[in-house]
């Protein structure tokens, strides 16, 4: 009960801050929209080897990747905000109160997950304008997966931010770790035969985001029964839980 009460308090405050700075919601979707405008037109011919013949089919492959990209990058850079809060003394002020340490993290990560779903909604709507179609129920399930990814990546980001505590280390660290994760997830182009060499497929299978992209793609293609859907959901759920616990421990631990 206390956990829910405390999480709600932190969530409310974080949501209020977001509402007062709504620009960030739109800055966040700027990149995906650019991809949609400037990159997506290349896709139909490029994806022809996969049997893609229409724009709609191309979008069904590309849009899920784009949304996962939004979730990964949006989440991984949330730590910047926390570093600012650390510097302003807000984290220290929270830590001397009896508030639940897990709530300090959950309140923030849940806010991030909800913002991400809103952003994903906007991007999806735009894609629909360009000719993308999918089943609503499947999209909602895909959004659940995206929310889990955002919970995971933002928790990791907060945990890392608490450890490194300054932007100059945090930014390159996040950039270098997110690039291989991004490339090995098949976001831009599916890492499947006949595109990808076998070794690349083998390596990508170790990347959890590969599975989430596969799962989201299956959902958008209407293959809800595909095994990649439950695999993707399960993997993100497990990793999100692990990330939350790891990061909450950082909040609890006495730090400098």
């Amino acid at each position: 009960m206390k956990l829910i009460h405390d999480t709600w308090l932190i969530f409310q405050r974080q949501a209020l801050l977001q509402v007062r700075e709504p620009a960030w919601v739109f800055i966040g979707i700027f990149q995906p929209v650019l991809y949609l405008l400037l990159f997506a037109p290349l896709l139909r011919p490029a994806l022809a080897p996969l049997g893609v013949t229409t724009e709609a089919e191309a979008y069904r492959i590309f849009v899920p990747g784009l949304l996962v990209l939004l979730a990964i990058f949006g989440g991984l850079f949330k730590g910047f905000g926390l570093i600012a809060e650390l510097r302003a003394g807000i984290i220290e002020r929270s830590r001397v109160t009896p508030i639940s340490r897990l709530a300090l993290l959950l309140g923030r990560s849940l806010r991030d997950a909800i913002v991400l779903v809103a952003q994903a909604g906007i991007v999806t709507m735009l894609a629909v304008c360009f000719g993308f179609t999918a089943h609503l129920g499947h999209i909602l399930l895909a959004f659940l997966m995206l929310a889990l990814i955002a919970l995971m990546t933002s928790s990791i980001s907060y945990g890392v931010a608490l450890k490194v505590r300054n932007e100059d280390t945090f930014a390159p660290l996040m950039n270098t770790t997110s690039l291989p994760l991004f490339l090995l997830s098949g976001i831009m182009l599916p890492i499947t035969e006949p595109f990808a060499p076998e070794w690349l497929i083998a390596v990508a299978r170790f990347n959890p985001f590969y599975w989430t992209v596969e799962g989201t793609r299956a959902l958008f293609a209407g293959n809800i029964a595909d095994s990649s859907v439950w695999q993707g959901l399960l993997i993100t759920l497990v990793l999100a839980t692990a990330a939350i616990f790891w990061s909450a421990r950082s909040f609890a631990r006495s730090v400098r």
Binding site: L16, E21, A88, G89, I90, R95, V96, T97
Partner: protein, 318 residues
């Protein structure tokens, strides 16, 4: 005793190139603070005041030693300690984009206070800390002194038994400082024990019931301001000279009315029984030797003199 500490120690290790540098921030602090006191921690920059406070506020674990706060063991039950204390950090603690009222309500609710009660407390705190006028403006628009008042109001909104205030008056103008002192006295009147740090000796003197002087992580003197000053008996005469300080000090050192003599920058400080009778004699001696006297002042010993006597440095220059 509401706060008792035994042999608290904390060192920091920081890497400088290959070498690991160790700073002993707190080295063996023993304190006993009675309930309902305003206790002052007086010391220069880097003395270890903040580190000690952060240990007592459960933010860092001491390397050694133990402490009990309001009957709770700090190491064993930090969560229980948090329920009983309030803490105001030296550097402030507010979000830029929210108002003082919103901050106060959230802070009260983080302590489990109900929504309606939190609203009431926020109203009251805004009033007593004179924040009403800008209560609903964003914190980023406040002046430094206004922010400081918000910080302190946040630290005591839940009416803790012990409040730790790290330099509550730094950055305040004389009027706001006097007002903050009033507030701190009011907190004591309501039964709160208040532990403040300061590097203003006039503040320690005027506000605190008891003072501990800390330097290089160690408590060098402790007691009521009056008792501390009594250790420096008599009066202090400060003589300003145009050079030739050492000559003057040699001449005066041997005089029977001079108990102790210290060279302090451009000045000589003489501890004497009675300033009024010592001054003419000092002037005669110096003029006899043709030394140019620039200024001469008599004052009763201050906490600065206590600090000087214990550490050999003045708090002003430390």
């Amino acid at each position: 005793m509401i706060i008792e500490t035994k042999n608290l120690r904390k060192s920091f290790h920081s890497r400088q190139g290959r070498k690991i540098k160790t700073v002993e921030a707190v080295c063996g602090v023993d304190m006993a603070i009675a309930e309902g006191e305003i206790f002052g921690f007086l010391g220069p920059n880097g003395a270890g005041k903040t580190t000690t406070l952060r240990i007592l506020a459960t933010l860092i674990e001491p390397d050694e030693g133990m402490a009990t706060i309001a009957g709770v063991d700090l190491r064993r039950e930090p969560g229980e300690v948090r329920r009983r204390i309030g803490y105001v950090a030296q550097g402030g603690s507010t979000w830029d984009e929210v108002s003082a009222r919103e901050e106060l309500i959230l802070q009260a609710r983080m302590y489990g206070i109900s929504k309606t009660e939190a609203n009431k407390r926020a109203d009251r705190a805004l009033e007593v800390f004179q924040l009403t006028e800008f209560a609903d403006r964003k914190c980023k628009t406040y002046s430094g002194g206004q922010r400081r008042r918000v910080d302190v109001a946040l630290g005591v909104i839940h009416e803790p038994r012990v409040a730790f205030l790290d330099e509550p008056t730094t950055g305040l103008d004389p009027q706001s400082r006097a007002h903050m002192w009033e507030e701190i006295r009011r907190l004591r009147h309501e039964g709160m024990t208040v532990f403040i740090t300061t590097h203003y000796m006039d503040e320690a003197d005027a506000l605190c019931d008891r003072v501990a002087i800390i330097d290089n992580g160690e408590i060098v003197a402790e007691g009521t301001p009056a008792a501390l000053k009594r250790q420096i008996s008599g009066e202090v005469v400060t003589v300003g000279l145009d050079g030739e300080i050492s000559t003057a000090s040699e001449m005066l050192e041997t005089k029977p009315y001079v108990r102790k003599l210290e060279i302090c920058e451009e000045n000589l400080r003489l501890y004497v029984e009675e300033g009024a009778t010592a001054v003419p004699q000092i002037m005669r001696t110096l003029e006899g030797a043709h030394l140019m006297l620039k200024s001469i002042t008599i004052h009763r010993p201050s906490l600065d003199d206590v600090f000087l006597a214990k550490t050999g440095r003045s708090l002003r220059e430390a």
